[in-house]
Amino acid sequence: MEHIVIIGNGISGITAARHIRKLSNKKITVISAETDYFFSRTALMYVYMGHMTFEHTQPYENWFWKKNNINLKRGYVKTIETKSNTLHFENGNDVCYDKLIIATGSKPNKFGWPGQDLDGVMGLYHKQDLENLEKYAPNNRACKRAVIVGGGLIGIELAEMLNSRNIPVTFLVRESSFWNGILPEGESAMINRHIRNHNIDLRLSSNLKEIKADNNGKVMSVIVEETHEEIPCDVVGLTAGVSPNIDFLKGSDIETGRGVKVNRFLETNIPNVYAIGDCAEQHEPIGNRKSIEAVWYTGRMMGETVAQTICGNRMPYNPGHWFNSAKFIDIEYQTYGWVFAKPKKEEAHFHWKHEDDTKCITVCYNTKTNEFLGINTFGIRMRHEVFNRWLSEKRNVDYVIQHLAEANFDPELFYRFESQILKTYTNHQLQSI
């Protein structure tokens, strides 16, 4: 029986394992150095905040794996010998495979800041990071202030987490406005205000210069590059993005760039070795996508696809319309299609914001053809299926705005804003004539 070995028990690796099991009787082994069982990484924040226990983050009960004949192995793969199809573990064990899927995910970025490896400096990605945070920031007596470096999705989650335990937070963001490399100006500005409304000390256009240690090698303060200000703190969160977790592949024959290089079939340069999820790097980016996509959904899709290929139905990774979502403290965010921070050539944005400053949408369309290209929505839930259809049907922007009610996914009895949006849109169109 063919032995499929998957390194990594995150969403990509586990999705691949489940789908291979659905399609075949192959022997499956999933290896993880992090945890015994699959858990939802995106839910770690809720454990620290006391919304859930760690067990709640595990989507399958522990008996599930045995029942479905998926072997779980705890261990750290140190090297891969592709000539003999062998994995060498840190503890000296070996495992042989017939087909190998690398799904090792990401690790937090560190940019060589002085003091970046001190005690009390951490990212937020692995379960171990959570344990570390619990150690250094259990409450606001042990941690009088935390500084977060890097204004992305993980940064704001970490800020929300610390805030839930009444730990004062200073949030250093390199950009002039929160996440404005991705979000259009109006949305980004709204989130800035939302962050500050939660008493988080948001510092825009601020870079980290260095992290200073006390006599015990623990964080004492950070220095801000622009102002040279020293901010005393007990914890520093480094959340300046992530990069593929592939250091263990150095010295193997598997081709790597920033990630593991794969073709559209998620195949590496070595036959029978595949890479999926955050750690995979496409030779050529697909459409507007980045060549490395560190997103939950794309990891899941790659897992589904590679399972088909491994079970004899060779299939390219062919993601459909882009979508994503996040939550900025109390404001939910969803996106369908492409809305860039600044409209590209022959593109324009229509922006509507509710007066309560927690809801807004931005619609991107082509100025020549009026084709609807994408929507960002804050504080209003929208139907994935409807936008997916409209994008496929290449609906024009007028149609989308007029039919927005069809796409609404807010709970029943909520106030609706479609007519307000339509009114703003009509005025906007009149002005632009």
Binding site: H51, H56, S164, M301, S325
Partner: protein, 524 residues
């Protein structure tokens, strides 16, 4: 996980004062157990209930209004009361003890026996009872008053907690209204009517439907209705219509939530005072298995018990009343057979294997009981006296299951123990919801991140995530439609909806995102 429980969230000083006020109010009630206050009863009761109310109001305002609108679940699993800590267990023990005394030893609450006046706690409620019904209080009046107060004050707290969510707010206003009006005030006013010789109405909470209201067909109840003129007869007819017409129609349109989380008194307490415990329900597969067998066994028990009670009430002589014992039994038998065959013919595919076996098993039991009856003698239905069947049901299901365990165990097993494992009404509505209803929880394409907030906060122990992450709609008989899964979802994945029946299950069995129809490949 080896993480120690953080002690981050202490009560603010305002909250401490609020707790103190509430505790003084409760303490006055406890003191009343040992004393019979004489002249100042009205004052003392007013002070006590006011302190409890004001304490809760101050606490809620301090806890929620000082923060921005949004989900307020911080530290739930660190707090002793809401994570089966010492406070949780203590509360559970006190509540359970209270229910045991209430149901089995009301004299310790001060219930006067042999026409003696009430003493202790019950006497404290006499003035209020006289005001409403003109009669002295009973242990049920005391319980009903405290129950209603709990729903009103914790309902207020819930509304503040979910002040960003109109569905939650309106639902809570609805249960508060039905509890105060239908369960508390109207029955008391009906007692007033009984002062006239033309009326002899039984206690009747209009919104409490058989089989939750298992005593509606007791002889004293039926006699009461029938001896109260047109009003009595109308009420009885309304009670029967509720079972066979009103509730199936509403469940078809809205799902069982129209009752369980918008109207029902048990649901009202669970959703308000019990809200802090919703995360304690077990989501394990084994709990679901136990749930299905237990709740349907209770339903079968209640059907047999009620049939026996009505059978005994009726006469065999067709000249006395058109509905004789024989016609009644035959019509029950006919109804159940038609129901069984209809389901097996039209909805068979929607039932799991074990559900089919269960249905066949239960049907076989009922059929054999009827056969036994026709071959045996008749005064004892099903070989057991209906009165003993009725008292066993009243004791074990009505008192112990729904009261002592159902509410007493809130802090241990979660706030819907009774609704999930025992309520026969929930079983019937759930059956209707599963078989023919427009209600479902829609999953939003591929947006689920499997975080597990929905499953954690489902009070009915449904593993919502297991559906959401597959992009599958949720049509479960146990879902009471409280809408909390949708509220706590950080990605906007879940929406409670009434929509066409066609395709409501597995409607979105394609995880959006991949441009290939993978699910078709999986199914091939």
């Amino acid at each position: 996980m080896s993480l120690a429980k953080p002690d981050a969230n202490h009560l603010s000083s305002v909250q401490k004062i609020a707790v103190l006020l509430g505790m003084i109010g409760l303490f006055i009630l406890v003191l009343a157990l040992f004393n019979t206050p004489s002249s100042q009863k009205t004052l003392i009761l007013t002070v006590s209930l006011s302190l409890i109310t004001i304490g809760t109001i101050i606490f809620s305002r301090d806890a929620y209004l000082k923060k921005m609108k949004g989900i307020k679940n911080d530290s739930i699993w660190f707090k002793s009361i809401s994570s089966r800590g010492v406070l949780g267990w203590l509360t559970g023990i006190v509540l359970t003890g209270f229910y045991i005394v209430l149901y089995f030893f009301p004299k310790y609450l001060g219930l006067g026996s042999n026409n003696n006046e009430n003493t202790g706690l019950i006497a404290l409620f006499d003035p209020l009872s006289y005001l409403l019904s003109g009669k002295p209080a009973s242990q049920w009046f005391v319980y009903g008053t405290l129950y209603t107060v709990a729903i009103l004050i914790f309902g207020y707290k819930f509304i503040l907690k979910y002040r960003h969510n109109r569905y939650q707010q309106l639902r809570t206003i609805s249960v508060m209204f039905f509890q105060l009006g239908f369960a508390f005030l109207i029955p008391e006013f009906m007692v007033r009517l009984n002062e006239s010789p033309n009326y002899n109405l039984p206690y009747y909470d209009l919104k409490s439907i058989w089989p939750l209201n298992y005593y509606i067909f007791d002889s004293w109840s039926i006699n009461g209705f029938l001896s109260s003129g047109t009003l009595g007869l109308s009420l009885l007819i309304f009670g029967i219509l509720s079972i066979f017409a009103i509730s199936p129609i509403l469940t078809y349109k809205f799902g069982k939530r129209w009752y369980c989380s918008w109207v029902c008194g048990c649901g009202a307490l669970a959703e308000t005072a019990g809200d802090a415990f919703r995360q304690l329900s077990s989501k394990k597969l084994v709990a679901w298995k136990i749930e299905r067998w237990l709740i349907h066994s209770v339903l079968v028990f209640s059907v047999i018990m009620t049939t026996a009670v009505i059978y005994t009430y009726l006469s065999s002589d067709p000249n006395k009343f058109w509905l004789t014992r024989k016609t009644f039994l035959l019509s029950v038998f006919g109804f159940l057979t038609v129901l069984f065959i209809t389901v097996m013919v039209f909805k068979r595919k929607e039932l799991g294997k074990d559900a089919r076996y269960g249905a066949i098993g239960y049907f076989a039991i009922i059929v054999s009981l009827f056969l036994l009856h026709y071959t045996g003698t008749s005064d004892q239905v099903f070989f057991i006296k209906s009165s003993s069947l009725r008292s066993v049901y009243g004791l074990y299901i009505g008192s112990i299951f729904s009261g002592v365990i159902g509410t007493g165990f809130y802090p241990i097993l979660g706030n819907r123990v009774w609704c999930r494992f025992g309520c026969p009404m929930a079983a019937i509505l759930g059956f209707q919801q599963r078989m023919f209803s427009k209600f479902r929880i829609t999953t939003n394409g591929g947006q689920c991140i499997s975080c597990g907030n929905c499953s954690t906060y489902c009070e009915m122990g449904i593993d919502v995530r297991s559906y959401a992450q597959k992009g599958e709609n949720i049509v479960r008989s146990s879902c009471v439609g409280c809408g909390i899964c949708s509220a706590v979802c950080p990605r906007g994945v879940l929406k409670l909806e009434n929509n066409t029946i066609k395709g409501r299950i597995n409607q979105n069995d394609i995880l959006l995102g991949n441009n290939v129809d993978l699910m078709n490949l999986v199914h091939d």
